[in-house]
């Protein structure tokens, strides 16, 4: 998968989580991000690893929320993509 697509997917996932507030379920992310369950889980694991989102475990399942780093990614997304694309960091 190309970097542009990957960065765009990360942006879309973070945007969905931000727009839904503190308690978004994986099924909702799956629906909005238009990914397979396996791919979505890989992205969520990556985003947790990078510190962009938090995973909260409840009795009814898991929910996700955005961290400060996640908010920073969303606000700097244009600059990040321009930088990564122009300097061939894909």
């Amino acid at each position: 998968m190309k970097k542009r697509d990957r960065l765009q997917i990360i942006y879309d996932i973070l945007e969905v989580i931000r727009d839904k507030g503190e308690k978004i379920k994986p099924t909702h992310i799956l629906y909005k991000s238009n990914l397979s369950h396996q791919m979505m889980q890989q992205y969520l694991d990556e985003l947790i690893g990078k510190g962009f989102i938090n995973e909260l475990r409840h009795e009814k399942g898991k929910t996700y929320s955005l961290t400060e780093k996640g908010f920073n990614y969303l606000s700097g997304y244009t600059q990040i993509t321009k930088f990564v694309e122009s300097f061939g960091l894909a």
Partner: protein
């Protein structure tokens, strides 16, 4: 001095200013790369930042030690002692500059390779740095090796431009192509000192283009 032997005397002072400018521009690129890494956690951004930090260090070493040489030459000491000090200072500066520059180029080359790992980096570093220490002509060897890396990197940026067809990607491709051309000019400067001056102007144009791209990226 780093450029001892093929920098024309009339250009020596200007070359220090050029190298300081390159050091500052590459330092800016490194700092912005780290900023991008902090926001995105993209590993390639930190590799790119480290590469430009090494470029910056190589130019700082080159310019500061050339200033030191100018200072040494202006002192009234025994001529043999002076020549010996200048030679030692120049040799240390030369090797430090070449090693930092090569490590930076290897890191950028690594960005275009997949998978990227430390073993490939170490292998490239060894096969690039050893010939400089073991070969008969370290400067010539350095320019041949760095030109090869820059040709490879330019090809990577050409592919990047053809894929994305954006003005920014074109700027970066031309910038690295100019860096490659400047290195080729430096090879010829061993016999013709004017090529050393032309090489510096190519290098300046290259870093100005990289800076221009950076400004465009961060412009709101």
């Amino acid at each position: 001095m780093v450029s001892l032997g093929f920098c024309p005397n009339w250009f020596f002072h200007q070359s220090i200013i050029f190298e300081l400018a390159f050091a500052i521009i590459t330092l800016f690129v490194a700092l912005y790369s780290f900023k991008i890494y902090k926001a995105s956690r993209e590993k390639s951004a930190i590799l790119f930042g480290m590469a430009f930090l090494l470029f910056s260090a190589s130019y700082f070493v080159q310019s500061i030690l050339n200033i030191g040489i100018l200072f040494e030459l202006s002192q009234n000491v025994d001529i043999l002692q002076q020549v010996s000090q200048v030679f030692n200072l120049g040799l240390n500066a030369l090797y430090t500059h070449m090693i930092f520059m090569l490590l930076g180029l290897i890191l950028i080359t690594l960005i275009s390779l997949k998978p990227r790992n430390i073993k490939i980096f170490l292998l490239l570093a060894l096969v690039s740095i050893l010939p400089i220490y073991l070969g008969k002509d370290p400067i010539y060897t350095f320019f041949i090796i760095s030109s090869t890396y820059l040709l490879f990197i330019s090809h990577h940026y050409l592919k990047n431009y053809l894929e994305k067809k954006q003005f920014n990607t074109l700027l970066v491709f031309v910038a690295f192509l100019l860096l490659f051309l400047s290195d080729v000019h430096f090879i010829f400067s061993i016999n013709h000192s004017l090529f050393y001056v032309i090489g510096h102007f190519f290098e300046l144009a290259s870093y100005v283009l990289i800076l221009l791209n950076l400004i465009m990226v961060f412009k709101k």
